[in-house]
Structures are given as C-alpha cells and as structure tokens.
C-alpha cells in the first residue's frame, strides 16, 4: 500500500514561562519537516517561541470507556483541597 505523510501533533510554547500547549496537527514526512511545517502553519502570527512535534501514533491515550475508574475516584477526595479545613478567621497567611 502506498505510504502517505504521517500525522504529527504540534505543541507550541507561546512565550517563555508558559507550558507547551497542543495547537493542532499536520502532515509531514519526517520530524524535521514536521517542525518546519508547524512553524509555517501554527506560528504565522507570532504565536510561539518553541515548538514540539510528536508523531500522533506515538502518543498513548487513556480510554474514555475507563473514565469512571480513572477519574471519578478523585472527585470525592475533598480533603486534598485547602477549603476542606476549618481555620479560625484570625489566622492569616496559611
């Protein structure tokens, strides 16, 4: 079967101090080209200072069918949040 340019996911850091964020995807034959294409496609309006590209097939994803067991157990762990704890009003800076 004929091979087409694979799909890549593009992550862009908008400015130093911020994390790389998923911007979208594109097609490229190799990593070098993926970087160049990402630069041309996703930073035309000065949107970035750094780019990551990863071939989409190399990204492992959680299965939404397992969302219940993966994420719901965290919903009732309210004691992980500061508002769970009662403190006298006089206490400051805590």
């Amino acid at each position: 079967m004929k091979k087409n340019w694979p799909l890549w996911e593009v992550f862009v850091r908008s400015k130093n101090g911020l994390e790389h964020r998923h911007f979208g995807s594109l097609h490229a034959a190799d990593a070098e080209m993926a970087l160049e294409n990402a630069r041309d496609v996703y930073t035309r309006r000065n949107e970035g200072v750094s780019i990551w590209v990863a071939e989409s097939k190399n990204i492992t994803a959680s299965n939404p069918l397992n969302n219940g067991e993966l994420f719901e157990p965290a919903q009732d762990k309210v004691y992980r949040h500061p508002t769970f704890y009662d403190l006298p009003d006089d206490i400051k800076h805590m």
Partner: protein
C-alpha cells in the same frame, strides 16, 4: 551618488520582487497543503523586503513616485534582477532548485550588507538575514530530500540543478553602479562571495548525492536589463492593473 544608490537598491529589490512573484504564482498549487503554506511564507517575506527597499528608493528619488510606481511601472529593460529568479516554475524541483541557488547567495549577500555604511540598507539587511536563513534551511532541506528520495525525484532535482546552473555565475557580476557603491562603502563586493558560494553549494549537493554540473558557460545580462523571454510574461501580470488603469489608487 544619489542615482547610483537608487539603481543599486533597485538591483537588490528586483531579485526579491521577481522571485516573490514567481512563488506567489504557486499559491494553491503546491504538492501538499503544508508545502503550499511554506512557499507562500517565503513569498510574503520577499514582498515584505521589496516594500522596504522600494519605499527607501522612493524617498531617495524624491519625486512623486511611490513604491508601486517603482515596482510596477518600469519597462522590461529597467528591471535589474538576475536571470535566475525569473526562471519559471517548471516543476517543484525547479522551484526548489531556483530557491536554493538563490538563497545561498542571498544569505551571504545580506550578511555583508548589514555592514553597509548606508544606515537604512544595513537595518533592512539585519531584518532580512533572519528570514533568508530560514529560506535557505527550507530549500536546502528539500534539495537533500529530493536528491536522496526516489530515483524519480533524484533525476528531476538533478535536471533542475543542471538547467539552472548557467544562471549562477551572474550573481557575482558587478555593474558599474555596483562598483561605485562598493567603493563608497555602501554596496557589497559580490565578487568576494563567489568562492564560498560554490563551496557551500557543492557541500549540499554532495549531501543530496547530486552531481555538480561541469558546464562553465554562464548566462548573464539580467543586471544590465537584458533578460530571458520569461520575464516579459511575468511583468505583464505584475503590471496589468497599473497599466490598464493608470493613475488610480487601490
């Protein structure tokens, strides 16, 4: 001096103008969407450069002419671009080959132009150097890809390099105005760029497993306004509106 400087700027600007125009013709017809966008970016960079140069030239001319008058209302023989940049978009290998053979020169030229004692030109050159570094990266990557790709692409890339080779030597030709400008410390002595140019080109062609053409017979004339037949058609498009509807604002 003023006239020499004016002509000198036109000589630089016309290269970007004509190459930008050629690349602009490809918009919407690239081998992939991503490549299409990349080639258009280069075209946009070049037109941006053109505007800086012509706005400066208009200021020097000091008459009523605007950047557009200078860009679009000259006669064929008054365009001073090198023959290389007016060559047609025969296929993607030619487009890349033309870009590559020009980019290596363009980057070396702008790097030197940054030291011009003409302040405006040095400022423009500083901005353009970054853009053109990227152009060269793009075009040389593609030369390597096509050279090392399939047997078909190798053949097409070789054919393009062979076909365009005859236009490379002109890059280092100096007109009288050029010489004056070099003497004044404004212009770049292009004759000094030649050796580095060919060794850089050879390096990349070698990496691309392509052969370095042996032909030592070169075409010149563009810098003196003697062009190939291709330029006339390109100019009819470029000038169409300004010629058909003279003295109007758009």
């Amino acid at each position: 001096m003023k006239n020499n400087l004016y002509n000198y700027i036109l000589g630089i600007a016309d290269n970007s103008l004509i190459l930008g125009q050629r690349l602009g013709q490809l918009c919407g017809h690239g081998p992939s969407l991503e490549t299409d966008i990349a080639c258009t970016n280069i075209s946009l960079d070049l037109f941006g450069q053109v505007r800086s140069y012509f706005q400066y030239a208009a200021k020097i001319a000091g008459d009523q002419r605007t950047e557009d008058d200078i860009a679009m209302l000259r006669k064929e023989r008054d365009y001073k671009n090198v023959l290389l940049v007016e060559q047609p978009n025969t296929n993607f290998a030619f487009t890349i080959g033309r870009q590559f053979l020009f980019d290596v020169y363009h980057l070396a030229f702008l790097t030197e132009l940054q030291n011009s004692n003409d302040f405006t030109l040095s400022v423009i050159a500083k901005k353009c150097v970054k853009e053109v570094s990227y152009h060269l990266r793009f075009s040389s990557d593609w030369v390597k890809r096509l050279g090392n790709g399939t047997s078909v692409s190798k053949e097409k890339m070789q054919e393009a390099i062979n076909g365009l080779w005859t236009y490379t030597d002109e890059l280092f030709y100096q007109t009288n105005a050029d010489k004056e400008m070099v003497f004044e410390g404004v212009g770049v002595d292009v004759t000094k760029l030649k050796n580095n140019y060919y060794s850089r080109i050879n390096e990349i062609l070698l990496e691309a497993t392509l052969e370095i053409p042996e032909s030592k017979w070169f075409q010149t004339g563009g810098k003196e306004g003697v062009h190939t037949e291709h330029l006339g058609y390109l100019l009819s498009d470029l000038q169409y509106m300004q010629r058909t509807y003279p003295n109007m604002e758009w």
